[in-house]
Symmetry: C2
Subunit: 340 residues, 2 copies
Amino acid sequence: MSEKITIYDIAEKLNITAATVSRALNNNPKIKESTRELVIKTAAAMNYKQNKLALALKSGRSNNIGVIVPRIDSNFFASVIRGIEEELHPHGYQVIICQTHESPKRENENLYTLIDAQVDGILMSVTDVTNENDGAFRNVLEKNVPLIFFDRSKHIDGVSSVTINDFKGGYLTTKHLINEGCRCIAHLSGDQSLEIFKNRFLGYKQALLDNGMIFKEEYVIPVKSMVEAGKEAVDILLQLETPPDAIFSSSDFAALGAIQELKERNISIPKDFCVAGFSNEPFTKFMELSITSVDQSPLEMGKMSARVFLEQVDKTDTIKIEKKVVLAPELHIRKSSSKN
Amino acid sequence: MSEKITIYDIAEKLNITAATVSRALNNNPKIKESTRELVIKTAAAMNYKQNKLALALKSGRSNNIGVIVPRIDSNFFASVIRGIEEELHPHGYQVIICQTHESPKRENENLYTLIDAQVDGILMSVTDVTNENDGAFRNVLEKNVPLIFFDRSKHIDGVSSVTINDFKGGYLTTKHLINEGCRCIAHLSGDQSLEIFKNRFLGYKQALLDNGMIFKEEYVIPVKSMVEAGKEAVDILLQLETPPDAIFSSSDFAALGAIQELKERNISIPKDFCVAGFSNEPFTKFMELSITSVDQSPLEMGKMSARVFLEQVDKTDTIKIEKKVVLAPELHIRKSSSKN
DNA sequence: TACATAGATGTAATCGATTACACGAAAGTA
DNA sequence: TACTTTCGTGTAATCGATTACATCTATGTA
């Protein structure tokens, strides 16, 4: 119903030009005070709203930033997004959400779409590092749109990232299991093409070696981040000649599955078997047999990513600052691994 | 680095006008086939990308839709958003996320910001129905921007909504508890100014009356959706002259708190006390003592909201179709309330 | 041959805001 | 009095794409 009011409407009403109106509204110093006041009052009276699209076209800045995640309905990614939104909202940015569902094709699609939509920056968690068809990434860089990776990163010169120290997370957790007296610690590993999972694995391995324990390939089971995968892994592990007495899982969901399967087999946790997960999903704390897990401070990660973006967005210099922020993982020790 | 290529660049290279280029790229029928092919080939070669902002300004459609939720880091809202994104992505829409943190002020702010950003529609879950300062809502309606409520709705003429039948959810759950043999069923209620919570309460009450049980005010405890609140509620309930033997909680988190407190007091669940929650949060299924809860099909709710939006967005008629979609709640009966 | 018609393309306005440059009036300076 | 500044506004181009209307050419028809 209500006609869209433009600066031309205001100008017409006051018998001045749109240029003057624009200047008055933008606090341009070379405008008479009385004119400014009149314009501002009239604009308010006419319920004028600036057309952000026109502004965006003119300035080349949309005030939108794009966020790409594998999926949004995971506590971790949702929390990161929350952090991003909260940090960027006060600066006038809107957050556009894209999901990849772990598909490199969708990832590229989303990158192109966001660039087409003229976003002022892209914050993302990579889906597949081996994605060679990185014309999409090159495109982003060529357009000089700030790109920031969080959690799942990828090595690209000049691109900043915010991650946690996954190696340390794996190391600390494994060390903790060793301290609890576990002798044979297995690892449920994630997609090794992603650095986060590789580093968790490497931290695990190093902790074993540093503490005089032997590392066995057969104790490392690749799993998807699903309950069922954890059950299957336990099934495999318990058939080994020397079954393990602890599991460090790179996924909370797999850890949960492992626990369910162990209980099914009447193996007592933590007395005879310890389990620890990764991500600190809400349910790990809520269980009666609460699950030890590594917190990744997703909210902080989101806020930090947003801050890194803000630092870069105004740098008109072509000199790219590559900032690598690494947050500290926090091990939450709970019942599933507390023998004492 | 890479210059932005516009249709003018293509036109110049081919010695034709931008109009022709535009027509060729848009499959306008009145263009020579050979010209079209040449333009398309050249555009590809020059790596031309349509500037969506220019298009948006010209057409008045941004291809963005706004989603406003209390917060994104809740499994329910994140899942709804996932549904919305998946349904709208194929239609070329991008999803902009806003959070209110249950603040009416933020809600109004977000509404204005989204309208300013020229979104093509707004899908939202209301924060506070008593929010009288609805200039923000009026503004949306006047601008003829499709508005759709999901889950937490509000009565506004001409505005569509997608909700679940909360009354039925409350009714079914209470009936189930009665069937299990519970005689005194308490209710942990949510903010009664929100219809969803009022309806859950009404369903609970009706189920009691329909089954010859008496409804007692003192059995209704208002709670926040938090673990701690559930504990406190149990503390109050057990001090009553006739303490209840079951709880229907309008929140899974409060239900969890209740269970923790009951266990603390060595009350056996479900033998001596049954508990049921609402929302089917992931953890309810994962607990060893899994929690009975009502599923709200958030993914479906999101997709459905998106579909309702799509139906309305192309209707140029000023006649507003008010569509009220009500999804069926699904009671998931689990250990916390299964005596048999 | 003369004229209507279809086909292909060019011209220019438009969406709404910003801004370099131009211009007239008032004020300051010598 | 004559000339330079300063101040406040107007003019018009610009961002990139779309599209109504105009124009021109080639073809069809009587």
